[in-house]
């Protein structure tokens, strides 16, 4: 057992913790192994989802493609900190029109949001076959790269804050899915992804960081209960239905989570 841990540590390249945070580096091995299982499960779902999505687009089933879109993105949004480690794929899968000089009509504009623009703003599946094929190829590539990846612990632990930063940066404003207004799905997925990481490392700080965990749990609870008010069927109503008061409440909870979770790496002794 001891030997296995040592080997795992070596492959994970764990950074040794200092005296301020008396955390055994061994303790992180198990959460990270579990997190990798979680991530590969999500990328498997992502490939399945995108496959059906691409089929719908290529067979011209506009309404079906629209219905699939928000749920297909969920596994990607849940694991964004890991997906973002491959910046070429992240750009190709999930960049937004703002990232391109000519915005929506820029021929370089790819991925989910290019398709979203076509389905909603142009109300059509036309001219999307090539973009759709590329999306499927990209998520398949993502899956195999992640399988081969040694997860950097600081990226995993830091990922909880990164996900909250994502929400604070683009989801709270409704800019991410501006054509479909399905931002609340992403909102939930990012938050779930962050909470998963917190729960994986929770045993390591449960005794030493009681107040911290209480506050973090309370803020996640605020996010999830506020979002629950907007559930509809298996998903969520349009972002436009979010009230100003709830948007404020979510924004405060999200930013406070981003602040709090930004200390998680340090609390676990990771540089």
């Amino acid at each position: 057992m001891k030997l296995q841990h040592m080997l795992a540590m070596a492959t994970l390249g764990l950074v040794i913790s200092g005296p301020a945070f008396a955390q055994s580096e061994l303790d992180l091995v198990e959460p990270i192994v579990e997190y990798k299982l979680y991530v590969t499960e999500r990328t498997t779902q992502l490939i399945e989802g995108v496959t059906a999505f691409v089929d719908a687009i290529k067979s011209g089933e506009l309404e079906k493609a629209k219905a699939l879109y928000p749920a297909v993105r969920v596994p990607y949004e849940e694991i964004e900190p890991i997906a973002e480690l491959f910046s070429d794929l992240d750009v190709s899968i999930d960049s937004r029109a703002d990232d391109y000089e000519l915005a929506e009509v820029d021929p370089e504009f790819p991925g989910f949001h290019r398709i979203e623009y076509g389905l909603w703003s142009r109300n059509s599946t036309e001219d999307l076959d090539e973009v759709a094929d590329k999306l499927l190829a990209d998520v398949t590539e993502l899956h195999s790269r992640i399988e081969a990846l040694t997860f950097p612990p600081e990226k995993v632990v830091g990922g909880a804050a990164v996900l909250m930063e994502e929400v604070a940066l683009t989801k709270i404003s409704g800019e991410e899915n501006r054509y479909s207004r399905t931002d609340l799905w992403d909102f939930k997925a990012n938050s779930e992804g962050a909470y998963t990481i917190v729960n994986l490392v929770r045993p390591l700080i449960a005794d030493t960081e009681v107040d911290f965990l209480t506050e973090v749990d309370a803020n996640f609870d605020k996010v999830f209960t506020t979002l629950a008010k907007y559930e509809k069927g298996d998903g969520y109503v349009s972002y436009l239905e979010l009230t100003e008061a709830d948007r404020n409440a979510l924004s405060a909870a999200i930013n406070t989570l981003a602040e709090d979770l930004s200390t998680l790496r340090g609390k676990l002794g990771l540089d």
Binding site: G18, A20, F21, N219, E244, A245, N248, A249, S251, A252, A253, N255, T256, A258, E259, S262, T263, R265, G266, K267, G269, L270, D271
Partner: protein, 447 residues
């Protein structure tokens, strides 16, 4: 106190200046906690300034300039206007009086640290630093003031607060020349942040955003500045110019005259306002875009007739060889032959007995943001003013200005009305405590 304002040779107001303590003495009876306040301030201001809008003096400021944040009134209203200012507006997360008290206490603690200065606590380098570091490892006050205002929505949206709303506090409504952008308007809480340098104001804003993320959600902000002025050979100091090239602030009431301030700026005991609001003030903020390209294509004579002053000197038009501090004689010019009846300064302040109570304390900054879609400069005035009665003050003034010829060159696009809290009584007190006490009292009475 490195900032010895006694040296500042503002021509009009030196004689009228009084020390801060003297001011408090004169105010006895005007505010409910006067006697307590006398014992309070640990640091005294060098001087209360005569004219809030006297231009900041070149080479006269120091990073150690400190404006006391405790006292009868909040700092940043009747205290001298430094070179840089900002208004930031927030949504407030507070479901109970406890939540609001929590917000006020923590905000006061941050204001206490930032306006006094010191060394932020060092954190383990594996944690995010406690301070942004943009002003260096030691935070120096640099003349910083942070003034808290409360918007109508804070009260209107909360059943437990609504009965405590200041009587004249309303949601800013559109004036005929306005083109208000919803993203730049209103808010539950405003912070006016002023300092000698821009980095100090930005540092303060970032500190508060980081420290209070669970209670404050930033809605909009506008930064501005005013040019610093080198005194002339005769030691006179002109008012700073706005982006229309005219001096702004010439006819401001004398902030060194406590009687004038009590009448015009501070909410007093017999105002009909809730007791907790005494010693506070109504804050009106307007983001007023200036069409500077069009203005620069307007003949000088026309510019002067629109404003009512000589551009270069600031002199009133009926005394073109006088200075900006000389007062126009409208009684001798009833037909507006010298100063047109619809000129900006004449409409804003007709200098009649009937309009005397609509005099407001202006504390504006110029802003320069970027370029519009039409390729024009996005510049203008971050107009801030204070008054004891919002309706008799800013709203009355703006109604008189509605339709003025200047409107062709300006467009208000944002802002809001807020109530600047009363001051605080010492280290154990906090900004907003009188409102919280009123809420507690109401709670006990109903339970």
């Amino acid at each position: 106190m490195a900032n010895d304002k006694t040296k500042s040779p503002s021509s009009s107001s030196n004689l009228k200046r009084r020390s801060f303590l003297g001011g408090i003495g004169l105010l006895a009876g005007a505010c409910p906690f006067t006697t307590l306040a006398l014992a309070a301030p640990a640091v005294l201001p060098a001087e209360a300034n005569g004219h809030v809008t006297d231009a900041p003096l070149a080479n006269a400021t120091s990073p150690d300039d400190r404006v006391p944040f405790q006292g009868l009134h909040q700092a940043g209203i009747a205290t001298p206007r430094p070179a840089n200012g900002m208004v930031a507006s927030f949504g407030v997360i507070a479901d109970t009086p406890d939540d609001l008290e929590h917000l006020f206490r923590r905000l006061t603690a941050r204001i206490g640290f930032l306006t006094v200065g010191g060394e932020p606590p060092l954190a383990d380098p594996r944690l995010p630093p406690s301070d942004s570091g943009i002003v260096g490892p030691i935070v120096r006050p640099n003349g910083l003031t942070i003034t808290i205002g409360l918007g109508a929505s804070l009260f209107d949206d909360r059943a437990w607060l609504i009965d405590h709303k200041p009587m004249r506090l309303s949601r800013m409504t559109r004036f005929p020349n306005d083109a208000l952008d919803a993203a730049l308007c209103h808010g539950d809480l405003s912070l006016q942040i002023c300092a000698n340098t821009q980095d100090t104001t930005i540092h303060a804003l970032r500190d508060i955003i980081k420290s209070l993320s669970d209670r404050l959600v930033l809605k909009w902000k506008q930064e501005g500045n005013v040019p610093v002025i080198t005194p002339g050979l005769d030691q006179s100091v002109e008012s700073s110019r706005n982006f229309l090239g005219f001096r702004d602030g010439s006819a401001n009431p004398d902030a060194g005259d406590d009687h004038v301030m009590d009448q015009l700026v501070w909410v007093g005991a017999r105002s009909g306002e809730p007791e907790w609001a005494e010693c506070g003030s109504y804050q009106s903020v307007r983001i007023v875009r200036n069409f500077v390209e069009r203005w620069d294509r307007t003949p000088l004579r026309e510019q002067e007739l629109i404003m009512g002053r000589v551009r270069n000197s600031g002199a009133p038009l009926d005394q073109p060889d006088a200075s900006e501090f000389d007062v126009p004689d409208y009684a001798a010019d009833m037909e507006g032959l010298s100063t047109p009846l619809d000129s900006h300064i004449r409409l804003a302040n007709p200098r009649t007995a009937e309009t005397a109570e609509s005099i407001i304390l202006r504390r504006p900054f110029n802003y320069s943001n970027g370029v519009t879609k039409a390729g024009q400069l996005d510049q203008g005035l971050l107009f801030i003013c204070y008054q004891a009665d919002l309706e008799k003050g800013f709203i009355a003034v703006q109604r008189r200005l509605d339709g003025e010829p200047l409107e062709e060159y300006i467009k208000p696009v944002g802002g809001g009305y807020f109530f600047a809290l009363p001051g605080m009584r010492g280290d154990a007190d906090y900004l907003g405590s009188t409102l919280i006490a009123a809420l507690r009292k109401a709670q006990t009475q109903t339970s």
